[in-house]
C-alpha cells in the first residue's frame, strides 16, 4: 500500500531546548486512511501537525509527503508549497471574505476556480451560502466552510486540529459523522488531532497516542481498546482501576508481581457470578441519571469507586470481575 505521510525520528523543542515537545516520533499513514492523534494537552499533538503543515521548523528528523522530503534539518519547504490542507480549531475563516471567496482562496488552477469552489461547497452541503460572511453562519456551518476551503485545492494530506472542540455534544455527534463521510468520499488522507477518544474511536482507521512528546502506541481502534500498552493508554479510553496489592487481596486474585494490572470500570460486575468476587459495603451513593456511582468499602478495608447502571438495593453488594478482562502492562 502507498504511504502518503512518513515521519522519521521527528524531534522538536521550544525555548532553546528547555521544553521538549516531540521526542523521536516515527510513524506513517497510508493513502486514504484517517489517522487520529490522541493525547492530553501538552502531549505534543498540536506541535506534530504544525510541523507537518510547515508552520514550525523541526529540530531533527524528516517529514515526507507523497514520498517527497519536505522537512529536515537542511531543508524546510514553506507551508504554501507543501500540498497540505488544514482545518483549524477556531476554523480561521477570513472574516472580511465571503464564503465563496474563502473557498476560492486556496484553489491553484488558473481557471474554473469558481466551479471547483461551488462543487466543494455542494459536497459539504452549503450550496446557496456563497454570498454570506463567516459571522452570518452557525458554528456547524463555519466548520463545513472551513472543511470545504481546505478540500478545494485537493491537498495530499488533510489536517484537522481539534475539529469538534467548539461544538456542543449533540452537534458534535452529527457533524463528526458528516465530516468524515465527506472526507471518506474524497479519498483524501486525513490526520486529525483530538483529546476526545470517542471522536477517535468513532471515525479513525488508526489511532496514534502521544504522551509527553513520545509516541506510545499506534494501532487500530479495537486493538488499542483491547490491548493498551500502558495504563495511560487504557485510561484514555474510559475509567480504569489499577489493581494494587490491596485490591488483589480483597478479590483474592494473586497476579504476577513484575507487571502492572488494571481493570476497566465497565468490566466490574455487581451482584453477578464471576472469577473474582468481593463483598463490599456501600459508603455513599451518587445518583447520576442513567447510572449511579458507588463508593465501596471492601472486605479488607480497601476503598473502591464503581459506576453501575444496575439498580442496587441494600447496604452490601457483591462486586467482581473476570480474569479475561484484566489488563496487564510491563511497567
Amino acid at each position: 500500500m502507498q504511504t502518503t505521510l512518513n515521519i522519521k525520528n521527528l524531534t522538536k523543542s521550544f525555548d532553546q531546548g528547555k521544553v521538549k515537545a516531540l521526542d523521536d516520533v516515527n510513524f506513517f499513514v497510508n493513502k486514504g486512511d484517517i489517522c487520529a492523534v490522541v493525547g492530553e494537552s501538552g502531549s505534543g499533538k498540536t506541535t506534530l501537525i504544525r510541523l507537518i503543515a510547515g508552520l514550525e521548523e523541526l529540530d531533527s528528523g524528516e517529514i515526507h509527503i507523497e514520498n517527497k522530503l519536505v522537512a529536515s534539518i537542511k531543508k524546510n519547504i514553506a507551508p504554501e508549497k507543501r500540498d497540505v490542507g488544514m482545518v483549524f480549531q477556531e476554523y480561521a475563516l477570513f472574516p472580511h471574505l465571503s464564503v465563496l471567496e474563502n473557498v476560492v482562496y486556496g484553489i491553484k488552477t488558473s481557471k474554473a476556480k469558481k466551479e471547483r469552489a461551488l462543487e466543494t461547497l455542494e459536497l459539504v452541503g452549503l450550496k446557496g451560502y456563497e454570498k454570506r460572511y463567516p459571522h452570518e453562519l452557525s458554528g456547524g456551518q463555519q466548520q463545513r466552510v472551513a472543511l470545504a476551503r481546505a478540500l478545494a485545492p485537493k491537498p495530499s494530506v488533510l489536517i484537522l486540529d481539534e475539529p469538534f472542540s467548539n461544538l456542543d455534544a449533540m452537534m458534535r455527534y452529527h457533524l463528526r459523522n458528516e465530516v468524515f463521510n465527506i472526507i471518506k468520499k474524497t479519498g483524501v488522507t486525513a490526520i486529525f488531532v483530538t483529546h476526545d477518544t470517542q471522536d477517535a474511536l468513532a471515525v479513525a482507521d488508526e489511532i496514534l497516542i502521544l504522551q509527553n512528546g513520545k509516541l506510545v502506541q499506534k494501532d487500530e481502534a479495537s486493538e488499542l481498546y483491547k490491548k493498551p500498552q500502558s495504563i495511560y493508554v487504557a485510561s484514555l479510553f474510559g475509567n480504569t482501576v489499577q489493581l494494587n496489592k490491596g485490591l488483589q487481596t480483597a478479590f483474592k486474585c494473586p497476579l504476577k508481581e513484575d507487571c502492572c494490572h488494571a481493570i476497566r470500570n465497565e468490566n466490574l460486575t455487581v451482584n453477578k457470578d464471576c472469577d473474582y468476587v468481593s463483598e463490599a459495603e456501600i459508603l455513599k451513593r451518587t445518583f447520576l441519571g442513567t447510572h449511579s456511582q458507588l463508593l465501596l468499602k471492601l472486605d479488607n478495608g480497601e476503598h473502591l469507586t464503581v459506576v453501575t447502571n444496575e439498580p442496587v438495593l441494600g447496604k452490601t453488594i457483591k462486586i467482581g470481575f473476570n480474569s479475561k478482562d484484566v489488563l496487564a502492562f510491563d511497567e
Binding site: E57, D59, A78, E80, G85, M86, Q89, E90, A92, Y105
Partner: protein, 545 residues
C-alpha cells in the same frame, strides 16, 4: 545539539527577511552607537569646568524635576482615573475624554502660556487686581513653575494607563472586597493601589522620559537640565565632545528608567479584560454633594491643563494675529504639515516592515533583537539628533572625498531630519500596529499559508485589510508627535526649512512670546482634532468587539 546541526538549522532558517530585519534594527541603532563610540574620543576642553561647576546642578535639577513631576502626575492622574472609572457624577462621560486634552498642549507651549498668565500684568495679576491688590505677580519662571507646566501637560499618560487598569480589572475585585466588609475608600488603598502599581508606574516612566527629553520649556524658564546643557555645549561652546559626554550620562538615566520599569513588572501576569457592559452598571452613585465635588476635582486639571492656557493663547492671538499671519507664516505651516505627513508615512511603513519582517524571520534570537528597533522613543530627541548629525557629517565628507558629490547631501538636509524622526518615533507607530496585529488570530495567516499563499500575498489579502484601523491610528499619532517635536527639529532642520514648533520657540526666545501664540495654537488644534477622532474610533471598535 551538535555544532554542525546548529549550522544547518541556521542556514535553513535564514531568509531574506532576517537580513532586512537586521538592516532596520542597525539603522535605528546607529545614532545611539555613535554616542557610545564617540565617548572614546575623550571629552572637550570645558568638560572639567562642567564637572566642577554645573554637572551637579544638572543632576539635582533633573532629580528635583522628576520628583515633583512624579508626585503631581500621580496625584492628578490616579485620582481622576479612579473617579471616572468608579463613580457616576455629572459630566463624567465628557470629563473622561476631556482629561486627555492637556496632552495636546506641548510642554513648551504650556510654559509660554503660564509665563504669561503669572507674569507682569497677566491674567493672574488682573484677577488679583479685581480683589484690590495692585501689581501682584508670582515668579513662575523657575524649577517649580517648570515642574508644574511639565506635569500638567503630561499627567494624562498616568491618567490613561491607570484608567485602563481600573476599567479592565478592578470591578470584580472591588466587589469581592466590599462583600468582605471593606469600604470603598479603604479598598482603594489596600487593594487597588497595590494592584495598579505596575500600570501607574508604566505611565509615570513615560512622563519621566518626556521630562528628561524636554528642551523648550526648560530653556524658556532658564532651568539648567541635561538637554539645555547639551545644547549649550554644542552650539554656544562649540564642543560636540562635551555634548556627547552629557548625552551619555542622560542615556544612563534613561536606561535606568527602562530597567526599573521592566524590573517592577517582573511578577505581573496579564489577565483578560472583562466586557465593558458589566463595568458601566457597577459604577457607584454617591450623594449629590459628593457628585459635585467629584465633577469639580476632574474639571480642575482639564481647566488648568487645557482651557486656561488655551484662553491665554487665544487672547494673545487676538492681539498679534495681523502681525504674525503672513504669506511666510502660511509657508511655514504648509512646510510643517508636509514634513509631518511625509515622515509619518515613512515611519508607519518602516514600523510595518519591522513588524512583519520579524514575523517572517525564523531565527529566534533575531526576533528579540527586533525589539531594539523601537527603543528610539526612550532616547531624548537631542541625543538622537547628535547621533545622526555626527555620522552624516562623516558620510558627507567621505562622499565629497570620493568625488561622488560636491556638496553636503545628508547633513542639514531633509534626509537626515526625516531619518532622525523615524528613529525617534518608530515605537509610536509600532505599538498600535503590533496591538492590532496581535488581535488577528495567528491561525488566519497560518491558514492562508497552508492554502498556498506566500508571505506577501497573505499580508495583502489577509493581514493588511484587518489592521487598517491600527495603521490609521499609528499614522495620526506619529503625525502629531512630529508636528510638536522641538529639540530634534531645532538641531537637525535645514537652514531654509521651518516648522510651527520651531517658529513658536523662536518667537518666545526673542521676547515675542505673544507672537508665539498663533503657531502654538495651530499645533494644539491639529493635535486636538485627531484626539477627538481617535477617541471615537476607539469607542466604535470597543462596541463592535
Amino acid at each position: 545539539m551538535k555544532i554542525t546541526d546548529r549550522f544547518y538549522k541556521f542556514k535553513r532558517d535564514l531568509n531574506k527577511w532576517s537580513l532586512f530585519l537586521v538592516l532596520i534594527v542597525a539603522a535605528v541603532a546607529i545614532p545611539i552607537l555613535t554616542v557610545i563610540f564617540k565617548l572614546f574620543d575623550g571629552p572637550g576642553e570645558s568638560w572639567t569646568h562642567i564637572v566642577n561647576y554645573v554637572l551637579l546642578d544638572y543632576l539635582v535639577n533633573s532629580f528635583v524635576l522628576s520628583l515633583l513631576c512624579s508626585v503631581f502626575v500621580i496625584v492628578f492622574g490616579v485620582t481622576t482615573a479612579w473617579l471616572v472609572s468608579r463613580f457616576e457624577f455629572p459630566f463624567r462621560k465628557q470629563l473622561e475624554w476631556l482629561l486627555i486634552l492637556p496632552l495636546s498642549v506641548p510642554a513648551y507651549i504650556m510654559a509660554y502660556s503660564y509665563a504669561g498668565i503669572f507674569g507682569y500684568s497677566g491674567l493672574f495679576s488682573d484677577a488679583v487686581g479685581l480683589l484690590g491688590i495692585e501689581n501682584f505677580s508670582i515668579d513662575f519662571m523657575n524649577i517649580y513653575g517648570l515642574s508644574f507646566v511639565l506635569s500638567i501637560s503630561l499627567f494624562p499618560y498616568v491618567y490613561v494607563s491607570s484608567r485602563t487598569f481600573f476599567l479592565a480589572q478592578a470591578t470584580n475585585l472591588l466587589e469581592a472586597s466590599r462583600m468582605l466588609g471593606i469600604t470603598e475608600f479603604k479598598s482603594f488603598f489596600k487593594l487597588i493601589l497595590p494592584l495598579a502599581r505596575p500600570a501607574i508606574i508604566a505611565g509615570l516612566v513615560l512622563v519621566l522620559m518626556e521630562v528628561l527629553n524636554d528642551y523648550g520649556a526648560a530653556s524658556y524658564y532658564g532651568v539648567s537640565t541635561f538637554t539645555t546643557g547639551i545644547f549649550r555645549s554644542w552650539f554656544s561652546l562649540g564642543e560636540p565632545e562635551t555634548a556627547i559626554y552629557l548625552s551619555a550620562i542622560l542615556l544612563v538615566l534613561v536606561f535606568g528608567l527602562i530597567i526599573f520599569e521592566k524590573w517592577q513588572r517582573r511578577h505581573i501576569k496579564f489577565t483578560s479584560a472583562k466586557s465593558s457592559k458589566q463595568q458601566h452598571n457597577s459604577r457607584i452613585k454617591p450623594t449629590k454633594r459628593k457628585q459635585l465635588v467629584f465633577s469639580l476635582i476632574c474639571l480642575l486639571p482639564v481647566f488648568i491643563g487645557f482651557f486656561l492656557p488655551v484662553t491665554q493663547l487665544l487672547f494673545w492671538v487676538s492681539q498679534t494675529f495681523t502681525k504674525v499671519w503672513s504669506t511666510d507664516f502660511i509657508g511655514i505651516t504648509l512646510q510643517s504639515f508636509g514634513i509631518a505627513f511625509l515622515t509619518s508615512l515613512m515611519t508607519v511603513l518602516i514600523a510595518l516592515l519591522l513588524l512583519f519582517f520579524s514575523k517572517w524571520n525564523k531565527i529566534g534570537f533575531l526576533k528579540t533583537t527586533s525589539k531594539l528597533g523601537v527603543m528610539g522613543y526612550a532616547i531624548p530627541g537631542t541625543i538622537i539628533a547628535i547621533g545622526v548629525l555626527i555620522p552624516s557629517i562623516y558620510l558627507d565628507k567621505w562622499l565629497i572625498e570620493q568625488g561622488i558629490t560636491s556638496k553636503l547631501i545628508l547633513n542639514a538636509t531633509l534626509i537626515a531630519l526625516v531619518y532622525a524622526y523615524v528613529v525617534r518615533f518608530l515605537a509610536v507607530a509600532y505599538q498600535p500596529l503590533e496591538s492590532s496585529s496581535l488581535k488577528i488570530d495567528r491561525s488566519l495567516s497560518d491558514s492562508s499559508k497552508v492554502l498556498g499563499k506566500g508571505n506577501f500575498k497573505t499580508f495583502f489579502k489577509i493581514e493588511f485589510p484587518l489592521i487598517r484601523a491600527g495603521l490609521l491610528s499609528a499614522f495620526i499619532l506619529v503625525f502629531i508627535d512630529i508636528l510638536k517635536e522641538l529639540p530634534l527639529t531645532l538641531i537637525m532642520k535645514p537652514y531654509n526649512v521651518n516648522t510651527l514648533a520651531v517658529k513658536a520657540f523662536e518667537y518666545a526666545s526673542d521676547e515675542m512670546v505673544r507672537s508665539a501664540a498663533l503657531p502654538s495654537l495651530l499645533i494644539i488644534l491639529t493635535a486636538l482634532i485627531p484626539a477627538i477622532f481617535l477617541n471615537k474610533l476607539l469607542l466604535k471598535n470597543a462596541n463592535n468587539s
